[in-house]
C-alpha cells in the first residue's frame, strides 16, 4: 500500500504489524481462488481455523509469484489482545449486507465493516487487511468469509459471482440459477450425496475463457441448510455446525470434511438447469434461453453485493447463448435428482446445434 493510502488502511497495517511483533500466533495458509494464488495470514488460532475452514477444498502448496498473489491479513482482537483501530470511513459509503460498505473516491480501496469487524481491500496491490472484534462470528461470516470484498476481487479478475449453484457430473458443470427457495441447495446437496461432484449451492464464480467457453469456480466449500430441511438429509445432521444465533436458522455444513473427494474447484460449464418444485415425479425438459435469462436476472441482479453491472449482464447473455438450458422439474424423491442431472449432461453433449433445438423447445 502506498504512502497516500487512506488513514484506515495505514491504521490497519500498523496494528497488524504490532500484533505480529507482540508475538501473536501467526497462521499462514495458501489457496487457489479461481486458479489465482492466495495467501491467508491470520493472527489468532481460532480465527485462523474458522476463516480457513470454508476454503479448505481450495488449499494449495505455496510457491506462486508474489506479485500475482492476493494477500489477506487478519487478526483477532480477543485472541491477540490488540484492539482494532478506530474506523475512519472512506470517501463514499453505503449500507449493504447488514454492514457498511465504503470506497475511496478513485475506487482503489474498498472497505466492509460488519459489527465489530472491518476489512479493507486494496484493489491495485491485491491486499486485503482487517481485524475481527468480539468473539462471535455470524453464520454468514463463518460459512462465507469475506464475501463482499472477495466478490469485488473476483470481478477485477474477470470472474463474476452469481447467485447460483454449481455441480458436476463426469467433469461437466451444471449451473443452477434461482432465487431463494427454488431448490438450489436441496438439488446441489442431493446431487452430492448421490455421488456427483459439488462446487456450490449459492455463490458461484463464472469466468469466460479465451475460447468463448465458460468455467465455473467454487468459492466456498460450505452449504447452509435450514434446520427443518435436515429431515431430507438425515445423514448430514451429525455434521451440521450450529453455532449461530437462534434467529440464524441455517446450520453450516463444511462439505470438504464430509465428502473430501467430491468437492471440485473448477469445471467447464456445459448446461444451465432451471428448477421448479412441486412436480409429481422428477422430470427433465428443454428450457428456452429467454427463461434462463429471466432466471439469472431474478436470482443474481438483486442478491449479489455489490450489484452486478453491464459486464455481468453481457457475460450472462453469452453464457446463455453458449450452452443449452433445461428445466429440472423436482418431484418428491431426492434420489431422482442425480440421475436427472446425468441425463441433462448426456443430452447436452449430444446436441449438435442446441440453438435449433431451443426454438422448438
Amino acid at each position: 500500500m502506498t504512502a497516500d493510502a487512506p488513514p484506515l488502511v495505514h491504521a490497519l497495517q500498523r496494528t497488524f504489524a504490532t500484533a505480529a511483533c507482540d508475538g501473536a500466533e501467526l497462521h499462514v495458509a495458501h489457496f487457489s481462488f479461481a486458479g489465482r494464488p492466495v495467501r491467508l495470514s491470520v493472527l489468532g488460532p481460532r480465527l485462523a481455523a474458522r476463516t480457513q475452514r470454508a476454503f479448505a477444498h481450495l488449499r494449495r502448496a505455496p510457491g506462486e509469484a508474489a506479485d500475482r498473489t492476493l494477500r489477506i491479513e487478519l487478526w483477532d482482537e480477543t485472541e491477540t489482545g490488540v484492539t482494532c483501530p478506530p474506523v475512519v470511513e472512506l470517501d463514499r459509503q453505503w449500507v449493504a449486507c447488514g454492514g457498511a460498505l465504503a470506497a475511496s473516491s478513485d475506487g482503489r480501496y474498498v472497505s466492509f465493516r460488519y459489527q465489530d469487524s472491518v476489512t479493507v481491500l486494496d484493489r491495485a496491490d491485491q491486499h486485503m487487511i482487517g481485524c475481527r472484534g468480539g468473539s462471535y462470528l455470524s453464520t454468514g461470516e463463518y460459512s462465507k468469509p469475506l464475501l463482499v470484498l472477495l466478490s469485488i476481487w473476483y470481478h477485477d479478475r474477470g470472474v463474476q459471482l452469481l447467485h447460483a449453484g454449481l455441480i458436476s457430473s463426469s467433469g461437466s458443470g451444471v449451473v443452477l440459477p434461482g432465487a431463494s427457495g427454488t431448490g438450489k441447495s436441496t438439488t446441489s446437496l442431493a446431487s452430492l450425496t448421490q455421488g456427483l461432484d459439488y462446487l456450490s449451492d449459492d455463490f458461484t464464480g463464472i469466468e469466460r475463457r479465451s475460447d468463448g467457453t465458460f468455467s465455473g469456480h467454487s468459492v466456498y466449500g460450505t452449504a447452509c441448510l435450514a434446520r427443518d430441511n435436515f429431515v431430507r438429509f438425515p445423514e448430514l445432521r451429525m455434521h451440521a455446525v450450529d453455532e449461530g444465533l437462534p434467529e440464524e436458522d441455517k446450520p453450516i455444513l463444511f462439505l470438504s470434511e464430509i465428502f473430501p473427494d467430491r468437492l471440485r474447484t473448477s469445471v467447464p460449464i456445459r448446461a444451465i438447469v432451471l428448477l421448479r418444485r412441486g412436480n409429481d415425479v422428477t422430470a427433465v425438459q428443454r428450457a428456452r434461453r429467454r427463461e434462463a435469462l429471466r432466471a439469472f436476472a431474478e436470482s443474481t441482479l438483486h442478491t449479489v453485493v455489490p450489484r452486478p453491472g453491464r459486464e455481468a449482464l453481457a457475460m450472462l447473455g453469452s453464457l446463455i447463448e453458449s450452452v443449452p438450458a433445461w428445466w429440472l422439474l423436482l418431484g418428491p424423491d431426492l434420489s431422482d435428482i442425480a440421475p436427472a442431472i446425468d441425463k441433462i449432461v448426456s443430452r447436452s453433449a449430444h446436441l449438435d446445434d442446441f440453438r435449433m433445438a431451443d426454438q422448438g423447445g
Binding site: 434461453r289 438483486h302 452486478p308 449482464l313
Partner: protein, 143 residues
C-alpha cells in the same frame, strides 16, 4: 402527433445495460439495480429504439411485422416511450439509424401491447439512502 412519437431515441447507455435473447429483454438501471423485462413486441420495440430508428418508423415496422392496426400500435408505443423516458432508460438520440429495420423476425407471437415489468430491489423498497451499491459505483481503472 404526440411528443413521444417525434424524432428518435436511444438507450441511455451510460446508465443502462440491456440484453435481448430470443425475444426476452432484460434491462438493468445501473444507478440503483432496478431491472426491467419485456418480451415479444416490447423487446422488438426496444431493439428498434436502441438502434435509433425514428419512432414513427418503429410504429410502422411493428404494425407491419405483427399485422396489427397502426393506430393501436401508435398508442401502445407512445405509452411505452413515455414510461421508458420516465424510468431514465432512453434519451433523445442525436442522430437517426442508417438503413431500415430489416425483415420481420421469424418467430413472432401474436401482437400484445408492450408491457414493461419493473423489479425494484429491497434496497429501494426500504428507501435505503443511498441504494445498495453496484459494481459500477466502484469502478477502478487499474484493477
Amino acid at each position: 402527433m404526440l411528443n413521444e412519437l417525434r424524432g428518435s431515441f436511444t438507450a441511455n447507455s451510460d446508465h443502462v445495460a440491456a440484453k435481448v435473447i430470443d425475444g426476452e429483454l432484460i434491462i438493468i438501471r445501473l444507478s440503483d439495480g432496478t431491472y426491467y423485462s419485456m418480451d415479444n413486441a416490447g423487446a422488438r420495440v426496444w431493439a428498434l429504439i436502441a438502434a435509433q430508428h425514428p419512432i414513427a418508423d418503429v410504429v410502422r415496422t411493428i404494425a407491419s411485422w405483427y399485422g396489427a392496426a397502426e393506430d393501436r400500435v401508435e398508442s401502445d408505443v407512445a405509452s411505452l416511450v413515455r414510461e421508458l423516458l420516465d424510468e431514465g432508460l432512453i434519451v433523445a438520440a442525436s442522430a437517426e439509424a442508417n438503413g431500415g429495420p430489416g425483415a420481420a423476425p421469424a418467430d413472432l407471437e401474436p401482437y400484445e401491447a408492450p408491457t414493461l415489468h419493473i423489479y425494484r430491489d429491497m434496497g429501494n423498497l426500504l428507501a435505503l439512502d443511498p441504494p445498495t451499491p453496484g459494481i459500477d459505483d466502484l469502478m477502478f481503472g487499474n484493477a
